[in-house]
């Protein structure tokens, strides 16, 4: 270039000067090259990390459906009124000015007049004396904090006036939000009613910073229905088991119980991310929002439950007089599918969405003996009482007890008309009247003497082996976190506990051991189907809502056999027939479950619970139907019932009536249970 001629022209000093200039400019250029080109990416990253905040955006939660696609849990839009702090900044400034002026006036009133020095005297003609006192940083902080609160309160009060609602916000709440989530909107009305939404959208609203936001929220359309299986959510924004680091997290939930908890990861889907541009004061910058990653909705969970049957089961259980506590399990004995599972008392899962007070927890959710949060069908452990005689029966018959051989029940001298069994010096009550008993009669009259006398000859090993074969003492593997395996001894525990024949007698009549209604359902299914102990199935499949999704559906294989019980078919037949006669025979304990056109087979049970300073009863009815080709297993358990036959058998009958009616196409699906919408 022409101008650079100067490097070679002119006299020496000027040439040196020209070279010096060139060197200086090249030095700057080199520095700029280094900063802008060589380290440009690094500085761009630093610029982004200081000006962008990422927000975790929860994905739409997958639905929980019954076997034919009806919703137990879905989603519904909810309207939330938000306040964007960044749009109130002019108001903050205005409030600040007013407050600052007041403070300055107060301070200068108390301040000493400026010193009368020589220079001050000289300068007085030229400049105004300094009148405004300096504010400390603490004072400025306090002023800004108060100004923010004043401006926000004004806006919120105005919103409240227009909506005719007393809306308030605590100073601390605002400050916390300001400190931790400045770039996010402040929710001022988390759940607007349709009337409020109408009011907000109709009115020329025109309040700066106030915006209506539509957010999805969990909905349980049937309220209490199957609440223990479906479970509930708990507010939790902080998923630390996920990848990705976020500066802010939007309101989210996590499954806390039931299927919501057990399949939380699948239902939750993949959270997305949004970035917000923030300015140096930490406020959101308008039009600076960008979606970085779309959230991937969660998978729908299709259960094996039958919504109509569930309604029928809960209704039947609810027909027990009083504040019933109990459980019902309905299972398909051909494949182990759980068709209905009820536990009473129950709860409304939607109650947890907005948080539950500690008081409500102690007074309701955890209150004994109701404990509505316990899924009694899988998590309650109960002595099976006489229903255990079903397992006794298989064990005895397999041990070679002749079903036709007669056994004499001795009369109980203290209770006329009842029998008793003497084990050494201990007298065990037998509700069966004294007399001659073969296997069938002993079963349907539930004779303790018969089963204890024959059972004691089995020995621990065989008894424990049969119980374990039917899955007692082990979890059934249902996909719920709230499951227990009950208490059934092993040979080791028998030895450790030093159990004697007396304990064995108790076990034979279903005392000193516990199981869950679900375990009993699995065991009864095995009897009904001729020996197949299934892994019960509650979840049929997980599939994406959208058919276009690339995520494949995951199906749980139905009818997975856990153990095949090696017992003679004849013996299963004998037990099934005895169960049928328990209902059918006028002498049977389960006759109140009888239906004229549906052959129900069952066994009643009543277990005495002693301990914890109280005496209580657990009543049972374990059944399947129909006799020829069992399609349903129904287990009914009621705490503090009168008796298995009196309390539980009628509940089972109502459920079978519903099933029979439906099979014969007699009734439309029942109306939804009360308590839902």
């Amino acid at each position: 270039m022409l101008i650079f001629d100067q490097l070679n022209k002119g006299d020496q000093p000027l040439r040196i000067l020209a070279w010096g200039l060139l060197a200086g400019l090249l030095l700057l250029l080199g520095g700029l090259w280094k900063v802008q080109v060589l380290s440009g990416a690094q500085y761009r990253e630093r610029q982004e990390t200081q000006s962008f905040r990422t927000v975790r955006v929860p994905a739409l939660r997958g639905k929980i459906l019954d076997r034919s696609g009806r919703e137990f849990a879905g989603n519904t839009p909810r309207y939330r009124l938000d306040l964007y702090l960044d749009e109130l900044r002019p108001q903050f400034a205005a409030e600040y000015d007013v407050r600052r002026a007041a403070l300055v006036a107060r301070k200068s009133a108390t301040n000493a007049p400026p010193k009368d020095t020589f220079w001050a005297w000289v300068g007085r003609g030229f400049r105004k004396p300094r009148t405004t006192p300096r504010l400390t940083i603490q004072e400025i902080d306090q002023l800004s904090r108060a100004s923010r609160f004043a401006a926000v309160s004004n806006t919120i009060a105005e919103v409240g006036r227009r909506l005719r609602l007393p809306l308030t916000l605590s100073e601390q709440a605002l400050h916390d939000h300001y400190i931790t989530k400045r770039a996010l909107p402040l929710p001022i009305l988390p759940n607007c009613t349709p009337e409020q939404v109408a009011l907000i959208t109709e009115q020329s609203w025109n309040l700066p910073g106030v915006e209506l936001e539509r957010v999805p929220i969990r909905r349980y359309p049937h309220g209490h229905l199957a609440s223990h299986v479906v479970g509930h959510l708990r507010r939790d924004d902080d998923y630390n088991d996920e990848e990705g680091r976020f500066d802010y997290r939007m309101r989210d939930f996590r499954g806390a119980m039931g299927l919501e908890a057990a399949f939380d990861r699948e239902l939750r889907g993949q959270a997305g991310a949004r970035s917000i541009l923030v300015n140096s004061a930490g406020y959101r910058h308008r039009q600076g929002e960008e979606v970085i990653a779309e959230p991937q909705p969660g998978l729908n969970l299709i259960t094996t439950l039958d919504l109509d049957l569930q309604v029928a089961a809960e209704k039947a259980l609810g027909s027990v007089a009083g504040d019933e506590r109990g459980a019902v399990v309905v299972m398909d004995p051909t494949n182990g599918d759980v068709l209905a599972m009820a536990s009473a008392p129950d709860f409304d899962p939607s109650e947890f969405l907005d948080g539950v007070s500690a008081q409500r927890w102690t007074n309701f959710f955890l209150a004994e003996p109701a404990t509505p949060m316990i899924n009694r069908a899988t998590y309650g452990q109960y002595a099976p009482g006489s229903t255990f005689k079903i397992i006794d029966a298989i064990a005895l018959l397999e041990a070679g007890v002749d079903p036709n051989a007669l056994f004499r029940v001795e009369p109980d001298p203290t209770t006329p008309g009842k029998g008793r069994y003497m084990l050494g010096k201990r007298s065990i009550r037998d509700l069966a009247p004294p007399g001659e008993y073969d296997f069938r009669r002993a079963f349907i009259r539930s004779s303790n003497s018969y089963f204890i006398d024959h059972g004691l000859r089995l020995g621990w090993e065989k008894l424990i082996g049969w119980g374990a074969n039917f899955g007692l003492g082990q979890r059934t593997g249902i996909r719920l976190n709230e499951e227990t395996g009950g208490d059934f001894p092993t040979l080791d525990t028998v030895r450790e506990r030093g159990w004697t024949a007396g304990n064995m007698a108790n076990v034979l009549i279903g005392q000193e051991i516990t199981l869950t209604p679900l375990q009993l359902a699995v065991a009864v299914s095995a009897v009904a189907n001729g020996g197949k102990v299934f892994w019960p199935r509650l979840v049929d499949r997980l599939e994406p809502e959208s058919p276009l999704s690339e995520t494949p559906a995951v199906r749980v294989q139905p009818g997975q056999v856990r153990t095949e019980i090696r017992a003679k078919a004849r013996n299963f037949d004998l037990v099934r027939t005895a169960m049928r006669d328990d209902v059918l025979d006028s002498e049977g304990t389960g006759k109140s479950a009888r239906m004229s056109d549906f052959e129900i087979c069952g066994k009643t049970g009543t277990a005495e619970i002693k301990g914890f300073g109280r005496k209580d009863k657990v009543t049972w009815f374990a059944s399947f139907a129909p006799f020829e080709a069992p399609r349903y297993v129904v287990i009914v358990m009621v705490e503090s019932g009168a008796s298995g036959g009196g309390t539980c058998a009628p509940v089972a009958r109502q459920i079978y009536e519903f099933l029979r009616n439906r099979e014969q196409g007699r009734s439309a699906p029942l109306a939804h249970l009360g308590g839902g919408q």
Binding site: I3, L17, L29, L32, Q36, V37
Partner: protein, 403 residues
């Protein structure tokens, strides 16, 4: 003086076109990026368009160009006769600043004339430059006298010390390279200059020892606290003294964070511009307030340009400055007398020092000082003084053939 003598009729260029192309380019860039840095804030504040900050810059450009035209009518030699008067007036103004100046951010640099605030140190640089050129323009033989050298140094020291007192170390230090370059071009014996340079270097070393090692009971030269901090930021050193307690250390860390904020943000601005920049008005650093709005359009305007136009923008700005500076050297080499040559050298050095220090501070090559970038930084005094300086170059060029 006749028309003939003022504007030559010979077929020779009266106007040094490359110089003015460079100046015009810089003024366009200045207006564009001051608008980019302040326009949205001005709009948000609801100001009418004539009250935008970019408008006062444009007014300063026009006013400055008018002054240039006026200045060119009078031969620089005649102007130089008044240089000593101007020099003492500017010294008086500096004294006035010390007495009645307006304080901003802890330094008294401005005089308040009602609607206009004026920074006498800018004027003092020009007046000093003129006076020194006039002083050194004597026959080269006389310059061998040490007394003369001492007098020349004294001329530099008076405004230097007054500005140092404001305190404005950056502006004060500008006097030194200008004086040095002018004496060098005038032919002052090298040994004087080397001695001067040597003692300057000694002072710098003593200062650095004080700042970096903080020996207790240091008596020689002390810097103001803020100047120390700026140097510590520059060298990336910890603010906390060696034996500091943890709480002192924490406070020092917070202070450091605050003090190095501007440099950190200007580096991020410049660096994030990359090769091609984010586009005019697309820079986020000043829009979001990370680059403080108070300085983005004046001392740190280069960061805004570099962020929005990238390395290519930086290159353009440097090229335009190179055109201006080398035109100045050319004018110096073609000047008709020693006076013209020395003034031109002084102007070029003055502009170069400003450019180097300001851009250097934007990329942490030089410690932070409040030195504006000629023609680009918003600020009336700086723009007008820069234009006067460049106008004098044009004056020297215009009168190069008339003896």
């Amino acid at each position: 003086m006749t028309w003939e003598s003022t504007f030559p009729t010979r077929r020779e260029r009266a106007v040094e076109w490359p110089l003015w192309i460079g100046v015009l380019g810089l003024m366009l860039i200045g207006a564009a990026f001051i608008f980019s840095a302040t326009g949205s804030a001005d709009a948000a504040a609801g100001r009418p368009w004539w009250r935008y900050r970019v408008m006062s810059q444009i007014v300063a450009y026009v006013l400055g160009l008018g002054l240039v035209a006026g200045l060119c009518i009078i031969d620089y030699a005649r102007l130089a006769r008044w240089s000593l008067v101007a020099y003492w007036i500017s010294v008086a103004l500096l004294v006035a600043v010390a007495l009645f100046g307006v304080s901003r951010l802890g330094a008294k640099r401005w005089i308040d004339f009602g609607p206009i605030q004026f920074q006498p140190s800018e004027l003092a640089k020009l007046a000093f430059l003129f006076a020194l050129a006039n002083f050194l323009a004597r026959p080269p033989g006389e310059l061998n006298s040490p007394a003369l050298f001492a007098k020349a140094l004294g001329m530099a020291l008076i405004p230097f010390l007054l500005i140092l007192k404001q305190p404005d170390l950056g502006s004060a230090l500008v006097f030194m390279p200008v004086a040095l370059a002018m004496m060098f071009a005038a032919g002052v014996p090298r040994r004087f200059l080397l001695r001067f340079l040597g003692s300057g270097a000694l002072v710098v070393v003593l200062l650095l020892v004080d700042v970096m090692f903080a020996p207790p009971g240091w008596k020689f030269i002390k810097l103001e606290e803020y100047q120390k901090h700026r140097l510590l930021v520059y060298f990336g050193l910890d603010f906390a003294p060696k034996g500091a307690t943890p709480s002192e250390r924490l406070a020092a860390r917070a202070e450091q964070e605050k003090k190095s904020y501007n440099v950190k943000q200007s580096l991020i601005s410049v660096g994030s511009g990359g090769l091609a920049g984010k586009g005019w008005g697309e820079g986020t650093q000043s829009a979001l307030g990370y680059l403080p709005r108070a300085v983005a359009h004046n001392d740190f305007i280069f960061s805004v340009i570099a962020e929005e136009r990238g390395f290519l923008g930086s290159l353009t700005v440097l090229t335009l400055y190179a055109v201006v500076l080398f035109s100045g050297i050319k004018i110096a080499s073609q000047a008709r007398d020693r006076l013209g040559r020395l003034i031109a050298v002084g102007v070029v050095t003055l502009l170069f020092t400003h450019i180097f220090v300001n851009i250097g501070m934007n990329i942490r090559m030089v410690p932070v000082t409040g030195i504006p970038l000629p023609l680009l930084s918003a600020g009336g005094t700086s723009v007008i003084c820069s234009l006067i300086a460049i106008g004098i170059l044009q004056n020297i060029h215009l009168h190069r053939r008339h003896y």
